[in-house]
């Protein structure tokens, strides 16, 4: 029962994916599920948000109606011939074995997640608290903006709205709702990573890479801590996988899926705004520099990307411009103190914190392994589209570095100790995908 809203979202995402891609698609059931969930859960969160704007209160029937209308619309508009199966019969047994593995992982992670049923500190103080306001009667949802600034009232609402959607279908205890959302994302991340790599590598190697992630104890802890970081990580990974699909010229409409995924990112966390803008910029740069394509084709790709990005990012625009208070984490008002903020001591502190976290035993050698992969095959990271994917990590690291330097309202070392593990956590699935993609893929 608790999984029913995720299934409805998955169905909606699947229909939308088929509608966007138009042509009959050849993709594994794992990749289809991973991408359908990313689109579907994003749409569910946005529809829930719009329901507050429309009805000015929590209206479970209204939220269900919006979902129903979208699904009916997609069913009517769907004019695609779906092939009965894209899985060759010879691989059916193998696929069933993989599905069984993921189901086992789901139950294992579900059990472990019961260790923190209310989530960790920031999860209940920031995200679950907002869900409580959203699902209360009347106009309590607007009181979120009057909450104390320690609860980050300016943070966008992807996760609280998604939890409100799950609650509106199931009417279950909010702690169980938040726990199930985190477990669904934690396991789907493994499936999506596996599916993304399976297109380029031997399926057992893809399983090995995703196994490294999903069995890592720090990953399990942070993924089930009910933070929005797991959602951010999921959409970043989806964007990376879709980027590679576009580069392989699989289906030109994947650019629309890419735009949608990027548009969801700003609604998850403030970091998502930077991530989406960087990925948007890098993609535009890639198509501008791509040889052998007509200018009209490049224009069409850019327009599709920007159109779908605006479609899903519109909720964040509404939220940030008309509803949310300004962010207090960083400030540009006291410009006179900027020279003190950009001190060598602070730079060293940031670099030391990141290095210490990379070698933290809690990660079970995973970051050391990824650094090893980078060192032994560093040349491959600069080939073809890889250099663009690498460029994102470089630019994002630079932006995060500057944001840390601009920290004023908190003690920097305290902030680093709280946030560096989480930044590494949400980058980890994409870096794992990227590293295995770079090393394992045969470049023709």
């Amino acid at each position: 029962m608790i999984l029913l809203p995720f299934m409805i979202s998955g169905l909606m995402g699947g229909l939308l994916l088929l509608r966007i891609l138009k042509e009959p698609i050849k993709m594994s059931s794992f990749l289809f599920l991973g991408l359908a969930l990313s689109i579907g859960l994003g749409c569910s969160s946005l529809l829930t948000f719009y329901s507050f704007v429309i009805f000015n209160t929590f209206n479970p029937k209204g939220i269900l109606l919006l979902h129903f209308l979208l699904i009916v619309f997609l069913c009517i508009k769907l004019n695609i011939v779906i092939k009965p199966s894209t899985i060759p019969i010879a691989h059916l047994g193998q696929t069933l074995v993989f599905w069984t593995i993921w189901i086992v992982f789901f139950f294992v992670i579900w059990t472990i997640s019961k260790h923190h049923p209310f989530g960790e500190w920031d999860a209940w103080a920031v995200w679950n608290l907002k869900t409580k306001f959203l699902v209360a009667d009347g106009t309590s949802w607007q009181d979120i903006f009057r909450l104390h600034w320690h609860t980050q009232p300016d943070y966008p609402w992807f996760l609280p709205c998604l939890n409100a959607w799950v609650y509106s279908v199931t009417q279950k205890d909010l702690a169980l709702v938040a726990q199930s959302t985190s477990v669904v994302f934690a396991v789907s991340m493994g499936i999506l990573l596996f599916a993304g790599l399976q297109r380029y590598l031997n399926p057992y190697v893809a399983l090995l890479a995703s196994g490294l992630l999903i069995t890592n104890r720090s990953y399990i802890f942070l993924a089930t801590a009910q933070y929005a970081d797991i959602v951010l990580a999921y959409y970043l990974l989806a964007a990376y996988i879709v980027f590679t699909l576009i580069m392989q010229k699989e289906n030109k409409n994947f650019v629309c899926v890419y735009g949608l995924s990027l548009g969801f990112l700003p609604f998850i966390k403030n970091e998502g705004i930077i991530i989406s803008l960087l990925l948007l910029m890098i993609f535009l740069l890639t198509i501008v520099l791509e040889n052998g394509r007509a200018l009209s084709f490049k224009k069409e790709m850019a327009l599709k990307l920007l159109g779908f990005y605006c479609l899903s990012a519109f909720a964040t625009f509404l939220f940030k411009i008309f509803l949310a208070p300004p962010n207090r984490d960083i400030t540009f008002t006291q410009l006179s103190s900027l020279p003190t903020l950009f001190s060598l001591e602070r730079c060293q502190l940031i670099i030391q914190s990141v290095i210490a976290e990379l070698f933290n035993p809690q990660w079970e050698f995973l970051w050391i392994f990824l650094l090893f992969m980078l060192i032994v095959g560093w040349k491959k990271y600069f080939l073809n589209e890889n250099k663009f994917l690498l460029l994102f990590f470089g630019l994002y690291a630079l932006v995060v570095f500057v944001i840390y330097l601009l920290t004023m309202n908190f003690d920097l070392s305290w902030r680093l100790s709280r946030t560096v593990p989480r930044i590494l956590f949400y980058l980890l699935p994409s870096i794992l995908f990227f590293s295995f993609y770079v090393h394992g893929r045969r470049i023709s």
């Binding site: 049923p117 679950n128 409580k132 090995l208 890479a209 392994f369």
Partner: protein, 140 residues
């Protein structure tokens, strides 16, 4: 002419071997975590954050916003004070930190003497004092 020595493992194969070792190591830890969880879930009762303030709900009537007064360190770095826990437990009620201009006030003092000191200017009645030394006061 010297013959170039043949590699035993390519860099990719070496990466896969290391990945396998890490995965095996992870699976051992995962098994321990899973079994430990099964044991803990039978033994430990997990309490909701802010459960220390839940009993105040019965006294607040239809209040929409109340004050939360404390002499504890409420800086962002030390926000392990009880304020956010109380906010979470009593939501969707709004808590106003260190603003005494409300009918109902939760007082979270470091000691009973500091509670009396906080209340000196307010002259509020203590409606309820619970076992966690949290006080609900009401101003007339």
């Amino acid at each position: 002419m010297t013959k170039r020595p043949q590699k035993i493992l390519t860099s990719w194969q070496l990466c896969l071997l290391l990945a396998l070792l890490i995965l095996a190591h992870n699976l051992i830890i995962l098994k321990t975590m899973y079994l430990q969880s099964l044991i803990d879930l039978r033994r430990i009762k997990f309490l909701e954050p802010g459960h220390e303030h839940l009993d105040f709900k019965d006294f607040l009537g239809g209040a929409k916003e109340i004050g939360f007064l404390t002499d504890k360190d409420m800086s962002a770095e030390k926000n392990d004070g009880q304020f956010l826990k109380a906010q979470y437990a009593l939501a969707p009620l709004l808590l106003d930190l260190n603003n005494p201009n409300h009918e109902f006030l939760i007082i979270d003092p470091t000691s009973i003497f500091s509670a009396l000191e906080i209340n000196q200017d307010l002259k509020a009645d203590f409606v309820h004092v619970n076992g966690f030394n949290k006080i609900l006061a009401q101003r007339k």
